[in-house]
C-alpha cells in the first residue's frame, strides 16, 4: 500500500513538515516495493482551501494512509469520505515514522484542528 507524509524537502534527508495543507512536498512511500517518491504540493500557493486541494492530490495518488503531525477539518472530511486513514507522526524523522507505521506503533490522528482560515484576510 501507499502511504504519504508531508515533508520539507524532496530528498531523502528531509524532515516531516509541520503543515499538511501548505507543505512544499509529499513523500509517497510504497510499503510493498519500499520505494520513495516525492510529489510537489500545488496547494502551497493557494489563496484558500489548501487542505482540500492537498487532500485531493493525496487521494488521486491512491494513498491509503497519511502520516502527519496535524490536519485541518476540511482535509479530514476529504480523507474520511475517501477512506484514507490518518496517523499522527511521532517525531520529525521520516524513517522513524515509516518504521513505526510498519510496526503498527502509530496512533490514529485524533485531534483535527479547525483550520487557520482567514488570517490576513
Amino acid at each position: 500500500m501507499k502511504i504519504a507524509i508531508p515533508v520539507d524537502e524532496n530528498s531523502n534527508d528531509t524532515k516531516v513538515c509541520m503543515s499538511f495543507g501548505r507543505t512544499p512536498y509529499f513523500l509517497i512511500y510504497n510499503t510493498d516495493t519500499q520505494k520513495k517518491e516525492y510529489l510537489d504540493n500545488s496547494a502551497i500557493a493557494s489563496q484558500g482551501g489548501a487542505g482540500i486541494k492537498a487532500a485531493q492530490t493525496i487521494i488521486d495518488n491512491s494513498v491509503e494512509a497519511l502520516l502527519t503531525p496535524r490536519c485541518g477539518e476540511n482535509a479530514a472530511d476529504v480523507f474520511n469520505t475517501a477512506g484514507v486513514k490518518l496517523y499522527k507522526t511521532i517525531n520529525d524523522s521520516v524513517d522513524d515514522n515509516i518504521e513505526a507505521f510498519k510496526n503498527n506503533k502509530l496512533s490514529i490522528l485524533g485531534q483535527i484542528h479547525p483550520g487557520f482560515h482567514g488570517h490576513g484576510g
Binding site: S46, I52, Q56, I59, D77, T81, H117
Partner: protein, 289 residues
C-alpha cells in the same frame, strides 16, 4: 445646509475606540446613520439600543451538485481558485464555507449538474435610536467571510441622507477594505503607545493605498508622551482631535451608554470633533473633488 457624507472609522486593532468615536459622533450630528460593519463582533447596537428593528437575512449562493448528472470531468474542481470543491469516490464534495459564490463551477459544468442554492450567512438589523438610524450586520458564528454582509449594509446605508458613520472591522484585511471602499473620508483612531503606532501605521498604509482623504483622532490621551501624535506630526497627518484618558468616559462607555447623551462636557468634546471633521471633509472635497 444639508451635509451628506460617508465617514469610515478605522483602527489597526480592536479596542482602540472606533465604536466610541463613531457612536458618539453619530449621536452628536443632527441627521446621522450609524453602520456597524464589524460583523464578526458588532457592538454599536449595545450603545444605541435601537427601536423598531427590522431584520433581514443575508444569503450567498453555493453550488449544489446533482451527482447523477456528473460525469467526473473535474472541470469544476480544477476551476475553483478557492478549492471549495473536491472529487472523491466518484462524487463532488462541496465546502460551502470556502466557496466565494462566483458561480463559475455552474457555468463550466458541461453536464449541467451544478445549480445554486441560497445559504444564510448572517443578518442585517435596522432600527432607530433618537436622531440616529442604526444598521448593524451580524455574521453567523463559523462563517469565514463577512464581506457579503458588509456589501449589503453599505448598499442600505448609502441610500440615507445626512452623515453616515461606518464603524469598520479592526485591522486592514478584506473586511476593512470593503468597509472603506465607498467612504468619502476616513478617521483613523489611534492609541498613545508604540503598539498603537504600529496599528495606526497599518490603517495609514491602507487609506493611502485606497487614496482616501483621512485624519486621525488620538484616543486615551494623557500628559505622557504620545508616540501616535509624533507619528502624525512627522508625516504631516491631520489630527482631527484628541479624546482624554478619562475614567468617567471609560465608565460611561463600559456601562453601554453614549457619552454625549449622558454628559454635556462630552457633547462639547464631540461637537468640536464633528466640526473639525466636517470642515476637513469639505476642504478635501474642494481640493480633491
Amino acid at each position: 445646509m444639508v451635509v451628506k457624507m460617508k465617514i469610515a472609522v478605522l483602527s489597526g486593532k480592536g479596542g482602540t475606540g472606533k465604536t466610541l468615536v463613531s457612536v458618539n459622533l453619530a449621536s452628536t450630528a443632527k441627521d446621522a446613520t450609524y453602520i456597524d460593519c464589524d460583523v464578526e463582533e458588532p457592538n454599536g447596537h449595545l450603545f444605541f439600543k435601537p427601536k423598531q428593528i427590522i431584520e433581514e437575512q443575508v444569503t450567498v449562493s453555493v453550488p449544489q451538485i446533482e451527482q447523477g448528472l456528473c460525469s467526473g470531468c473535474r472541470k469544476c474542481v480544477e476551476f475553483c481558485k478557492f478549492n471549495a470543491l473536491a472529487y472523491v469516490k466518484d462524487k463532488v464534495m462541496v465546502f460551502n464555507e470556502v466557496c466565494h459564490s462566483c458561480g463559475g463551477c455552474k457555468i463550466l459544468c458541461p453536464n449541467h449538474a451544478i445549480s445554486e442554492i441560497k445559504k444564510s450567512i448572517g443578518a442585517l438589523q435596522s432600527g432607530t435610536s433618537e436622531n440616529v438610524k442604526v444598521i448593524s450586520g451580524f455574521l453567523n458564528v463559523g462563517e469565514v467571510s463577512g464581506v457579503p454582509i458588509i456589501k449589503k449594509i453599505l448598499e442600505k446605508g448609502c441610500s440615507t441622507n445626512g452623515i453616515t458613520f461606518i464603524d469598520c472591522p479592526p485591522g486592514s484585511a478584506c473586511t476593512a477594505m470593503e468597509s472603506i471602499s465607498d467612504a468619502d473620508y476616513c478617521i483613523l483612531v489611534a492609541e498613545p503607545t508604540i503598539f498603537g503606532v504600529h496599528n495606526l501605521n497599518m490603517v495609514y498604509e491602507l487609506v493611502k493605498l485606497f487614496n482616501k482623504p483621512f485624519g486621525v483622532i488620538l484616543n486615551k490621551c494623557s500628559k505622557e508622551e504620545n508616540p501616535a501624535q509624533e507619528f502624525c506630526i512627522n508625516r504631516n497627518i491631520k489630527i482631527l482631535g484628541t479624546i482624554p484618558f478619562d475614567k468617567e468616559l471609560g465608565t460611561i462607555n463600559s456601562n453601554g451608554l453614549i457619552a454625549v447623551r449622558e454628559n454635556e462636557k462630552y457633547r462639547e468634546l464631540f461637537n468640536e470633533l464633528l466640526d473639525n471633521l466636517i470642515k476637513e471633509v469639505q476642504h478635501e472635497t474642494v481640493v480633491n473633488p
